[in-house]
């Protein structure tokens, strides 16, 4: 029988290094196009394209005028 772990301590909470304010500020300075341009790998696979789109759909990007 595989041992089911019990070793994660009660108080172990991973610190989130990202703040909401920073996230919103940085996202509002980037357009969706810039995000795709800089985040999408060269010659992406369909899986990579799908995942970058999956990420982009909830990022509050800079709105184009």
């Amino acid at each position: 029988m595989e041992k089911i772990t019990n070793k994660i301590k009660n108080t172990e909470i991973v610190e989130n290094p990202f703040s909401q304010a920073e996230f919103l500020k940085k996202a509002s300075n980037i357009t969706k196009e810039e995000f795709f341009k800089h985040f999408m790998p060269e010659n992406p696979t369909p899986e990579e394209v799908a995942v970058v789109e999956w990420m982009a759909k909830d990022i509050p990007f800079k709105k184009l005028e």
Partner: protein, 560 residues
């Protein structure tokens, strides 16, 4: 129960308090009586009372269906009667059946106010048999429990109880979890005695690394006293050792004397039930902790007993820890996002697993239990809202059926077959049900999947956190360095690209998991629950940070 329903219920409660309640319909009243009957059925099996109530309900159904004032009075009195009968019968059953099982508690103060709050009964055969199973609770754990209960905690004047996994396992039918540490709560009155006896055990080499500290409450004030040690039972082999954490708590006496912090599980302060289990037969020891021998020089053995929390105590602990974890997360500033830490997933599953009802009902029960906690603080509201938020998110997932099996496979089922255990290791989870029961297979599969995801999300959160901090230092030093060379800037961009590749790989994994979760299978909830926020709070801000810094570095490169 969703947010809307809870709000409706609360509004109704508020209306009743203000005396503005609208007159209930006949259906609502009949529903209320039926609810009462089911409560009576749940609490006891007194046929006479049940039959009386059922007769009255049938009688009510035969009446004119139109609502008239008399029917309201009749149903209200019926409800009152049901409540009175439930209370009376439950109390009389308790009185009749309650025989305190305290012969193992040598110094127990039976007349203390703490003892009045604590019912200590012999564990049922079912609970004892589960505890006896050496595959569920290993022999080395039993020896450790026997040592500390027999030599320390059974000397307490106030109630004590084993909580955590050693309390959870005897209260579950199916679980592959094996307790690997020992958690105990006891009264602060017994603190000096416990410390003294543990110190003597340390001197005898039966425990090691004894440490004492104060537990801080979430508001920074001092809470319980915590004792940590390893129970070695004299073995030099660390594999034989068992870790123990025990907490000395304020009980009723301290609270009457002005202590304002209520302990996590207010044992000896609020009504609680403990169950006495027979642990194991071990060498009897004298007051100096030396093994006792008879006249013939043979070792004398004794069977040691110990207290474990009841199922209700186990549930209370998991529930309160879930609340604590949600609350801690919210303090981080991302309000209403309810990031579940890895341990919280296990706790939710444990709560569900202890319940005999289906998962969906259990989740609703969990919401109800949180809603019932008084006082209804802002924290409680947030926790409840957060859970509802995640549950609703889960329930709104699309369900695309797989033609071959006529339903969506679901994340738990997928992980059982395909979980990636790392390079060179066989894929899938090791689920070994002993019997043919579908329920057993399902519970053990979910437990293994929760355990796998617990480790995985915990590792990924740590990884992202550590890597992002390291990278931040690196690109900030290049960005802020006016004399940074072209090579240094290009190097920093390359580091970001490498990090992007890793983040995309992680994201593909979690997108895959989330796509696979089946909202029609409540067991997938515990496995799914941490993922939306892992995506929103870690993956998305990190991707934005990488892109923002890449753009800044590229601009710096262009200006060279």
């Amino acid at each position: 129960m969703d947010n809307q329903e809870i709000n409706k219920k609360e509004n109704e409660e508020a209306q009743i308090e203000k005396g503005e309640a609208k007159e209930p319909t006949r259906e609502e009243l009949v529903g209320k009586v039926e609810e009462m009957i089911s409560r009576v059925e749940k609490d006891h099996n007194d046929d006479e009372i049940l039959n009386r109530l059922k007769d009255k309900l049938i009688h009510l159904s035969d009446k004119d269906l139109t609502l008239h004032p008399g029917i309201i009075e009749e149903v209200n009195s019926l409800v009152d009667e049901a409540v009175r009968l439930v209370r009376k019968t439950v109390e009389s059953i308790k009185e009749e059946e309650y025989e305190p099982s305290i012969d193992h508690l040598k110094n127990y103060k039976q007349d203390s106010v703490e003892a009045q709050h604590t019912k200590i009964i012999k564990a049922s055969e079912k609970i004892q048999n589960r505890f006896n199973d050496n595959e569920k609770i290993h022999l080395k754990m039993k020896k450790a429990i026997a040592l500390v209960c027999g030599q320390v905690f059974n000397h307490c004047e106030n109630p004590y109880a084993l909580i955590g996994s050693n309390c959870y396992i005897p209260h579950t039918e199916y679980s592959a979890k094996i307790p690997d540490d020992l958690d105990v709560i006891f009264g602060i009155n017994d603190y000096d005695m416990v410390c003294e006896r543990l110190s003597k055990l340390e001197n005898k080499g039966l425990i090691s690394e004894l440490k004492v500290s104060d537990v801080l409450n979430t508001d920074g004030t001092k809470g319980d006293k915590k004792i940590h040690c390893w129970i070695t039972n004299g073995s030099p082999n660390e594999d034989d050792w068992v870790e123990m954490e025990c907490f000395a708590q304020n009980m009723a006496t301290q609270r009457y004397n002005g202590a304002d912090n209520k302990s996590y599980i207010p044992l000896g302060d609020e009504d609680k039930e403990l169950e006495v289990i027979e642990i194991i037969e071990v060498e009897a020891r004298d007051e100096n902790f030396d093994i006792i021998k008879n006249d013939k020089g043979e070792i004398v053995y004794e069977k040691v007993k110990g207290n474990i929390g009841s199922e209700k105590v186990a549930r209370e602990l998991y529930l309160k820890n879930i609340i604590k974890e949600f609350n801690l997360y919210n303090k981080n500033g991302w309000e209403h996002k309810a990031m579940l830490n890895a341990k919280a997933l296990q706790r939710i599953f444990n709560l569900i697993n202890m319940d005999s009802e289906g998962t969906e009902e259990s989740i609703n029960n969990l919401m109800d239990e949180i809603a019932k906690i008084r006082p209804k603080t802002e924290t409680i509201r947030k926790v409840r809202d957060s859970l509802i938020f995640i549950w609703n998110q889960f329930k709104s997932l699309p369900v695309e059926k797989e033609e071959s099996i006529g339903r969506k496979k679901g994340l738990v089922n997928w992980l059982v077959e395909n979980a990636d255990n790392g390079e060179g290791k066989e894929k899938g989870l090791n689920v070994s049900a002993k019997g043919d029961s579908e329920k057993e297979k399902k519970i053990l599969s979910t437990e293994a999947a929760v355990d796998f995801i617990t480790k995985e999300t915990n590792n990924d959160l740590k990884e992202i956190s550590t890597r992002s901090e390291k990278l931040k230092l690196k690109y900030e030093s290049v960005l802020n360095n006016e004399n940074a060379s072209k090579e240094e800037i290009e190097g920093a961009i390359e580091d970001i690209n490498k990090e992007r590749t890793l983040l995309i790989k992680t994201s593909i994994k979690y997108k895959g998991y989330m796509d696979m979760a089946n909202s029609e299978d409540g067991d997938d909830f515990c496995v799914y629950a941490a993922m939306p926020e892992l995506r929103y709070h870690f993956i998305l801000p990190y991707s934005v940070e990488l892109v923002a810094n890449k753009i800044s570095l590229k601009k710096k490169l262009e200006n060279q």
